[in-house]
Amino acid sequence: MAYSDKVLDHYENPRNVGAMDKNDTAVGTGMVGAPACGDVMKLQIKVNDAGVIEDAKFKTYGCGSAIASSSLLTEWVKGKTLEEAGAIKNTQIAEELALPPVKIHCSVLAEDAIKAAIDDFRKKGGKTPDAAQESA
């Protein structure tokens, strides 16, 4: 399968790989996908008091397009408000990376991941780290 230059670039030099403390109340964690389906994305955002995403990290088990989709997304969400980040559409990701039709699901997964991370952050906002644990 031929990959676009942008996919290859993100795959070879993935941005923002890593993990943040999922018990930190400023951190929202979204984990989507399933190993049996061939892709799992974990996306984490760190949100400041103004509701702006200060930092984002990801880890992805999946094909090159899945890795690129999540890597790109971490770049995009940094500096955005939760509303702005939650409005990112999979089609924008697919277009930017020139994903072929069989890889569109990777961009869908990335959209799901940021939504799940935002949800997680909102759900545990202000709560103690302990109470937030099960959602991680």
């Binding site: 795959y11 790989v17 996908g33 190993p35 049996a36 389906c37 088990y61």
Partner: protein, 407 residues
């Protein structure tokens, strides 16, 4: 390392380069300065010399597999040989019964003709192999019925390289008068095969898996006991009516030469390839969470099929762009489905997804293997750094207990 040419070819089970000796021989059977005649032309020397070349090749192929030359039928490859054997035998013997037994890990060239026969009203039992990839003879015996007319079990599996016990299987079928077909595309020239001493009735061969050209193969049709087939290709009545069509002299000569060379060099080559395979496995097995797919003992020398837990197969192939390997079978790697062969062994989808088949051959060097080991280690480590599953594994989380949001 600087002498290594990239990418490194480690996909000899998909196909092999034509041996230079073979190519040279073939070149003499195409142009007007060579022998271009139609082997079926009976009225002039052009035809006679072509026929002679075809018959020499038939002897060469027969000799490698312990057959009588009269038992070899030329085809366009193992796919056609499988089709002719399975559909041909089923159609010929359908008055005796309409039940066929095969294995879930067969090549598509066997499974698809079986599916077609099912559409025609035949009944097919697809046996599960053991987790090792080998067939449990008790399960085979239990599946045989009064109306079973055909059993098709491959010799060497193309994905995992495991070798089935043809003698034991054939003893079961022969005692019951059931036709036994063997897809031997991956075994001919790699392990000894003496059909005259085996209870095998039909066997399929391909030239391009053993340094011959693509597009030519053969079907062995036993004479003692005599096995009958219904032709699938009708026309001028070539190959004793079993397979019409002008014989592709240059291809056939190439197959003959490839099989002749294999006969001479097989023992030494298999030993050398095995050493390289062990070197590769020892290198890879030093990593954590690496699983071998298929039995190690009953396995052809050139094949190593390995799953790397917590990394995904397609991204791994991408990271391994300097080596030409396949994830599952070459025929299926354009789809996103995990290998049906590994699934049939009972491998988790995750492990099936992350499998790589390395196949080693005539031109592989120790340097290439060492380079490959380092490359794979670096790629797997990089992808594991990226993998949330690896992170969870490191934290001691049982991935089976996690409720995944499937999509």
């Amino acid at each position: 390392m600087s002498t290594i040419q990239l990418p490194i070819y480690l996909d000899y089970s998909a196909t092999t380069p034509v041996d230079e000796r073979v190519a040279e021989k073939m070149a003499g059977f195409m142009t007007r300065s060579g022998c271009f005649g139609n082997p079926a032309s009976r009225s002039h020397s052009f035809g006679w010399t072509a026929e002679k070349a075809v018959e020499t090749a038939r002897e060469q192929v027969a000799s490698l597999v312990g057959a009588d030359p009269r038992e070899i039928i030329w085809t366009s490859g193992a796919t056609e040989a499988d089709n002719l054997a399975i559909k041909g035998a089923a159609h010929f013997y359908q008055k005796k019964g309409r039940h066929i037994v095969t294995l879930k890990t067969e090549h598509k060239a066997v499974l698809d003709p079986c599916r077609q026969l099912e559409r025609e009203g035949f009944e097919v039992t697809y046996l599960d192999p053991e987790p090792s990839g080998l067939l449990d003879l008790n399960k085979l015996e239990a599946a045989l019925r009064e109306d079973t007319i055909l059993v098709s079990i491959m010799h060497v599996n193309n994905e995992i390289g495991v070798i089935q016990d043809l003698e034991a299987i054939g003893n079961l079928t022969r005692a019951r008068g059931i036709v036994f077909h063997v897809d031997a595309a991956q075994s001919a020239g790699k392990i000894p095969l003496n059909l005259s001493a085996l209870p095998v009735d039909l066997a399929s061969f391909s030239a391009h898996k053993i340094y011959g050209p693509k597009g030519v193969g053969a079907l062995y049709v036993s004479r003692k006991p005599r096995v009958r087939l219904e032709a699938q290709m009708h026309g001028g009545g070539h190959e004793r009516g079993l397979r019409s069509g002008t014989l592709a002299t240059h291809q056939i000569v190439g197959m003959g030469e490839a099989f002749r060379i294999a006969g001479e060099e097989m023992d030494a080559e298999a030993a050398r390839v095995l050493e390289l395979r062990d070197r590769l496995w020892n290198g890879l097995d030093a990593m954590e969470e690496v699983y071998l797919n298929g039995d190690l003992e009953h396995r052809v020398a050139g094949n190593l099929n390995v799953s790397f837990n917590f990394v995904e197969g397609e991204s791994l192939i991408m990271a391994l762009k300097d080596i030409a390997v396949s994830s599952g079978s070459a025929c299926t790697s354009s789809s996103l489905e995990p290998s049906y062969v590994l699934r049939a062994l009972g491998r988790d989808d995750e492990l099936a997804h992350s499998s790589i088949r390395f196949s080693i051959g005539r031109y592989t060097t120790a340097e290439e293997i060492d380079y490959t080991v380092e490359l794979v280690k670096a790629a797997v480590n990089k992808l594991r750094e990226l993998s949330p599953l690896w992170e969870m594994y490191q934290e001691g989380i049982d991935l089976k207990s996690v409720e995944w949001v499937a999509h």
